[in-house]
Symmetry: C2
Subunit: 335 residues, 2 copies
C-alpha cells in the first residue's frame, strides 16, 4: 500500500550520505566524524555537539507559490529550501553541521523527489551539512528545513552589536532575486544562463563569509526581507541609525537592463531574498575584512555608515523606508 511512498523515503534516505542503510532499512549506527551517533531511522537522531561551542539553530519554511514558484525545477526548490536556512547560520558566523527536512508533498512523484534531493544534496555536501532526519507528509507542497550549526562564543555574529560611526557593508550584489522573480513571471525559464533567475532560485548562503567576519563585524544578518527592512532590524536591535549612499549599492549584474535604473535601485533596497550578508564594521577592520571576504569569493561593498540619530536616511539625509515588496511571510526573524 505504501510502496510508492516507500520509494520516496528511499530517495530521502539516500540524502543521508555516509549513513548507508542496512538491508533491513535501519541505518548504520555510528558516524563519529560527522558528530552523528545515530542517524535517521530511530525516533530521533542522536548528535554529538562539539565542546566549547554554541549550538545555532533555525528553521525556515518554503511554501509553493509563496516563497518559490510551484513549477520551478525541483532541483532548484531543493537547493533553495536548504539555502535559506543555511543563510541564517551564515548570518551568525556558524559552521553548518546537521539538518532536518520536513517535506509535505501533494502527490507521490518519484522523479520530482529525485530532482529535489539532487539539489538539496549538492548544497548539503558542499556546506558540510548532514541530513539526520525528517518527516514526510501529504499536503500542499511545503518544505521546512531546520539547521544546526556550531560557533565558538567569541565568533558569534549578532544583530545587536553595531555602534554609531561604523561602516555598513554587504557581501555581494543586491536586487538579483527580485529581478529573477520578475523574469520568471515574464516567462523566462533559462535558469542555467540567466544570473537573475539564478539569484532568485539558487541563492548562495554566505557561510564562509560569515565565518570570515568573526571578530571583525560588530553586527550582521542576512538580506532576506530586503536591504532596508533588514537594516532596520539591525539598527533597532543595536540602537543606532544609518545613512545609505544609494550610488554605492552593488546592483546585481543585468538588473538595470532588466528593470531599468529606478526599479533596479528599488529591487536592491526592497526586493528581498538576496541572502547576502549585511554587516557593520569598525573602519579600521575594513582592509582585513575585505581581504578575508575576497578569500571566500565575495566582494565587500561599503554602502553607508551607522549614525547616532535613529532611522535610516540616504546620503543627503532624506528618510528611506521599505515600500512593500514584502509578502505576508514578513521578516525572516525567528517568530
Amino acid at each position: 500500500m505504501l510502496g510508492e511512498f516507500d520509494l520516496i523515503k528511499r530517495h530521502l534516505a539516500a540524502l543521508q550520505r555516509g549513513s548507508a542503510l542496512r538491508s533491513d532499512g535501519y541505518p548504520e549506527s555510528r558516524d563519529a566524524l560527522a558528530g552523528v551517533e545515530l542517524g535517521a531511522g530511530d525516533d530521533c537522531a542522536l548528535l554529538v555537539p562539539s565542546p566549547h561551542h554554541l549550538l545555532a539553530v533555525s528553521v525556515d519554511t518554503s511554501i509553493a507559490d509563496v516563497h518559490f514558484p510551484a513549477d520551478a525545477p525541483a532541483e532548484a526548490i531543493g537547493h533553495r529550501a536548504l539555502a535559506v536556512s543555511l543563510s541564517d547560520l551564515a548570518a551568525m558566523g556558524a559552521q553548518p553541521r546537521w539538518c532536518l527536512l520536513a517535506l509535505s508533498l501533494p502527490e507521490v512523484d518519484e522523479a520530482w523527489v529525485g530532482e529535489f534531493c539532487r539539489g538539496f544534496h549538492a548544497l548539503a555536501a558542499r556546506s558540510g551539512t548532514r541530513l539526520v532526519g525528517g518527516d514526510l507528509t501529504r499536503g500542499h507542497l511545503s518544505i521546512s528545513v531546520t539547521v544546526h550549526g556550531e560557533v565558538r562564543p567569541s565568533a558569534v555574529l549578532r544583530r545587536d552589536g553595531a555602534e554609531a560611526e561604523q561602516l555598513i557593508a554587504v557581501s555581494g550584489p543586491l536586487g538579483g532575486a527580485r529581478g529573477g522573480l520578475e523574469a520568471w513571471r515574464g516567462g523566462s525559464r533559462a535558469l542555467d544562463f540567466d544570473p537573475l533567475l539564478q539569484a532568485y532560485l539558487r541563492p548562495q548562503p554566505r557561510i564562509e563569509a560569515g565565518i570570515a567576519l568573526a571578530e571583525l563585524a560588530s553586527a550582521a544578518l542576512d538580506v532576506s526581507d530586503g536591504l532596508l527592512a533588514d537594516l532596520d532590524h539591525l539598527c533597532r536591535a543595536s540602537g543606532v541609525g544609518a545613512k545609505i549612499d544609494l550610488t554605492r549599492l552593488p546592483l546585481a549584474p543585468g538588473l538595470i537592463s532588466a528593470l531599468g535604473h529606478e526599479r533596479a535601485i528599488a529591487a536592491a533596497l526592497d526586493g528581498g531574498d538576496d541572502y547576502e550578508l549585511l554587516f557593520t564594521l569598525p573602519e579600521h577592520y575594513l582592509a582585513t575584512a575585505r581581504a578575508r571576504l575576497a578569500g571566500c569569493g565575495c566582494e565587500l561593498r561599503v554602502i553607508g555608515r551607522t549614525t547616532e540619530a535613529l532611522g535610516i536616511r540616504n546620503w543627503q539625509g532624506a528618510p528611506l523606508a521599505a515600500r512593500g515588496w514584502r509578502h505576508f511571510d514578513g521578516d525572516g526573524d525567528q517568530a
Copy 2:
C-alpha cells in the same frame, strides 16, 4: 501593512517564557539556566548543550485534516503538535530542552493563535521545553515542530536493542486515539469529558516514563503508527520476532463500549496515534520497571514476548499484520 501579522508574532514571542522582549522587540540575551545563550529575535537561537550528553533531535509535521481535524479546538491543536514531537524524545529516553515552531496559517486570526499558543505553552512548560525560535508563513494550516532533547549515552533507548525471549510491554492503554477519531467523526465534541477524544486530540508524551526506562528497556519506540506497525519496526531493527497475547492488550477506557469488542482490538493493534511507549525488557527487570513507571503515573502492561523466529504472531502462533488504518503519512520514522 503587517500589523495583524505582527500581533500574531507577539503571541508567539510570548510563548518564549523567560525571554522577555525589550521594548524594541529584541529579546534579552541570556538565560543561562535554560541553556539559552540567545533566544528568538536574531537569525538563529544560540543554545548551550550540556557536557557529556547526546543531543536528540526530531521533527514532526501536523497537517490540518490529515493529522488532526482543522476545526478541532486551537488549544488542542497546539498541544498535539508539540506532543507528537516530544513523544519522539520520550521514545529515546531524552529530556526535552528546546523546540522550534514552523507555523503555516491560512489567515490571520488572533484569537485562534492565542488558543493555539495556550495549548502549546502549557505542554512546553510542563515538559521543560523552551521555544527558542520559529517561522511564521501564510499557507494551508500546517505545523512543524522540531524538538531538541538531551540524554546521557548510557541512558539512550534505541529500537534496535531487543533480544529474543524478552518481555514486550507498553506504558499505557491503546486504541484510544482511534476511538477518539471515530467519536469526532460521529459528531462528538465533548473534548473535556470524553477520554477517547482526549486520547486523540490531547495525547500525553511519556517523557518521564522514557527517562525511567533507562538501562532497563532493551529497545523502545512510541506507538504512533499502531502497535503492530511499530512493533514491526522494533523487531526488524533488532532482528527478532514477537508473540503477542491479544487477551492482555490494555484497551483504552470506553473503547469497547464505543467500538464493540472486535473493532476495539483492531483499534489497539492498528489504530495508531496513541503515543504510549512500546518497549522490550529482560524479564528480571520487570518489577523495577513496573515500579518506576508507576512513579510516573503509568501502568506497565506486558503484552507478549520477543522470539528468535522473525515475524509477529498471536499467542496461538497465527501471523498478525497491520491492516491499514494508516494514512499516507505512513510511519513515524525519520525520513
